[in-house]
């Protein structure tokens, strides 16, 4: 059970992930799952829930950090159309692997959060859009949902109340872009995942033209604790405007890679040294990707940055999905950037010219540079192509594609140039 004293909280979404068989309803219930749900369904109403979530300061955990309560308050009421709740479990941003652990270890936490969110938004049909590769996780979710239906926690007249909600797991099929919320909606409508122009925003016109809320797994899994202990309780954890805990997925050159749920405001250094057992080689990272592959890199000078949405923006990057990829002195950053350029070129949905052409260009030039066939003019091409893409497209994939290239150019131009010098030496000695 999560302590009601905010000072004593050790975790919210991950409070029970280590408990054996927490995925079964019986064990989850023993640990408090669904205990507060009857109170919410019988004594709370939509305004009260949305107010608590607003007070909590919860900001979306999917990447953009948008305030969840505010998002919910944008949903028009009494439109005569159904409202849909979509859980974004696409988890495709390179470096991110947290939602998977919530779903496979504590699926009932997500289900409970979705029932509460669904109740606040008057949702009859809710879906979990899970990336297609997570077959095991989809099976665990489906089994948990089956148990929840059998216990009258889902379906008609939940726990004897007037509220009814169906929940369906929907598997994607391998397309990073489907994590973008409007592409996710297109995909759920049985189409290729091509992002839509915004506005209209999904809250007003989403799934089949109806009001739709898209929230990340971690966001929804935080809701039960907020409603049980109150928005003010959550707001007392972390730092102002960046409240609560956050799960950081740490990978790359650390000794103990993994998911760590820590209070917002914990520093990067503490996370890497105290939780992740430090670097594999050396004592200072060569570069850190702080918020998934689409975020600008941080250098050693930012090692003490507090992990909050606001501090990472100040440091010139973003918190994103909380995916931290650490690179020590052994990392080949030119090769890594080339690999990411391939990723974005492969995953661009192709509907915006700057993104389709730009990601292709970046990949081709990076291939050339990595294999030692680059020239000084290529650096200019990389810079101009990246700058030309950012902010000129329907979705943020193009900005994400530009971020690693611009970081490499800014911080490691010598590494790029030595690749070129190397090739010239080879050519001369050949």
């Amino acid at each position: 059970m999560i302590p009601s004293d905010p000072q004593k909280v050790t975790g919210i979404c991950f409070d029970h992930v280590d408990v054996p068989n927490q995925n079964s309803l019986a064990v989850a219930r023993k640990n408090g799952a669904y205990a507060f749900l009857p109170t919410v369904l019988k004594e709370f109403d939509a305004d009260k829930i949305i107010d608590e979530v607003k007070t909590s300061g919860l900001r979306g955990r999917g990447g953009a950090g948008f305030p969840t309560g505010l998002k919910w308050s944008f949903v028009p009421r009494n439109t005569g159309k159904p409202t849909y709740l979509l859980c974004n479990a696409d988890e495709g941003e390179p470096g991110t692997f947290k939602d998977r652990d919530i779903m496979r270890f504590d699926p009932h936490l997500l289900i409970e959060g979705m029932i509460m969110a669904g109740f606040a938004l008057d949702v009859k049909d809710a879906y979990i859009y899970i990336r297609g590769e997570f077959l095991h996780e989809a099976n665990v979710m489906n089994e948990a949902i089956r148990e929840a239906y059998a216990a009258n926690l889902l379906g008609e007249n939940i726990l004897g109340t007037d509220y009814s909600m169906d929940l369906t797991v929907h598997r994607g099929a391998g397309a990073y872009i489907c994590g973008e919320e409007t592409a996710l909606i297109e995909s759920l409508e049985g189409r290729p995942g091509r992002p839509r122009f915004k506005p209209p925003f999904p809250a007003v016109e989403g799934f089949y033209g109806c009001p739709t809320v898209v929230n990340n797994v971690e966001t929804l899994a935080t809701v039960p604790a907020i409603l049980e202990h109150g928005g003010a309780w959550h707001a007392a954890i972390g730092v102002p405007n960046n409240t609560g805990f956050k799960i950081f997925s740490v990978s790359g050159h650390v000794n103990k890679p993994g998911n760590y749920e820590v209070p917002m405001g914990t520093t990067m250094r503490t996370l890497i040294e105290d939780y992740c057992g430090g670097l594999q080689h050396g004592t200072v990272p060569k570069a850190i990707i702080p918020g998934g592959s689409s975020s600008a890199w941080l250098m050693a000078e930012h090692y003490d940055v507090p992990l909050t949405f606001d501090d990472l923006i100040k440091a010139g990057s973003m918190l994103g999905s909380g995916a931290i990829i650490v690179m020590d002195e052994t990392a080949d950053l030119v090769a890594l950037t080339r690999r990411l350029a391939h990723f974005y070129a492969h995953e661009s949905c192709g509907q915006c010219t700057p993104c389709r052409e730009g990601t292709g260009w970046l990949e081709r030039v990076m291939n050339r540079v990595e294999t030692g066939h680059g020239c000084e003019a290529d650096l200019k091409v990389l810079k101009e192509a990246s700058e030309h893409m950012a902010g000129r497209t329907i979705c943020a994939l193009a900005d994400g594609a530009a971020a690693p290239i611009l970081s490499l150019l800014e911080h490691f131009p010598d590494e790029l140039r030595s690749r070129m010098a190397q090739s010239h030496q080879e050519e001369q000695s050949a």
Binding site: P82, E91, G92, E93, P94, G95, T96, F97, D99, R100, D125, R131, G132, E133, F134, L135, H136, D166, T168, H170, R171, G172, A173, G174, A175, Y176, S187, L188, E189, G190, R191, P192, G193, F207, Y208, C210, S249, V250, S251, G252, H253, P257, G258, N259, I289, S293, A323, I325, M327, A331, A335, L336, R339, L340, F343, H346, E347
Partner: protein, 169 residues
């Protein structure tokens, strides 16, 4: 019914029941397209043109609507692959922990290129994007199951065992 239509593969009656239940979960049957394609790929191994026609007919969609989805999503295959599909993640976290070396080892051992299938039809090796399991880098998906912290020795054992079973999963 024309001769061409009769030649189409068919879903089992159990599958058709499942599809009916599935369609009822959505506001429109079109939403069932991705899940039905997953089912079809499970039943028929890959999505041949005939299987895509079957899916289109089952959901009352134009063939083009099915085709554009099949070609957009990387998990859908239009061609058969080996009995064992080895999908190595080579994105950032896995790359920093030896994924490229692992791919090279697999290709050398199996004497194929990335994307290729061994002549006995047992193994296909591909590179995939971040599998969402980077703490377990390098990650290899073998027929949809995640294998984490995989090294060359682990794969060698797997290959020897798979060969010993003579191609049966």
């Amino acid at each position: 019914m024309s001769a061409v239509e009769q030649a189409l593969p068919q879903f089992s009656s159990k599958r058709l029941e499942e599809i009916k239940t599935l369609i009822a979960r959505y506001p429109h049957s079109r939403s069932a397209l991705l899940p039905v394609l997953h089912m079809a790929q499970e039943d028929f191994e890959y999505l041949s043109m005939d299987v895509q026609k079957l899916v289109a007919k089952t959901l009352g969609l134009h063939l083009m609507a099915v085709r554009e989805v099949v070609t957009f999503y990387t998990m859908f295959r239009e061609k058969p692959c080996g009995t064992y599909l080895l999908e190595v993640c080579t994105n950032a976290g896995c790359m920093l922990n030896g994924a490229d070396e692992l791919v090279r080892h697999l290709c050398d051992t199996l004497e194929i290129k990335v994307g290729g299938t061994t002549p006995d039809g047992l193994f296909t090796v591909t590179e995939v994007e971040c599998a969402g399991a980077c703490a377990g880098a390098p990650v290899v998906q073998i027929n949809n199951a995640y294998h984490e912290k995989v090294d060359a020795a682990h794969m060698d054992v797997f290959i020897t065992e798979a060969r010993g079973q003579g191609g049966k999963k």
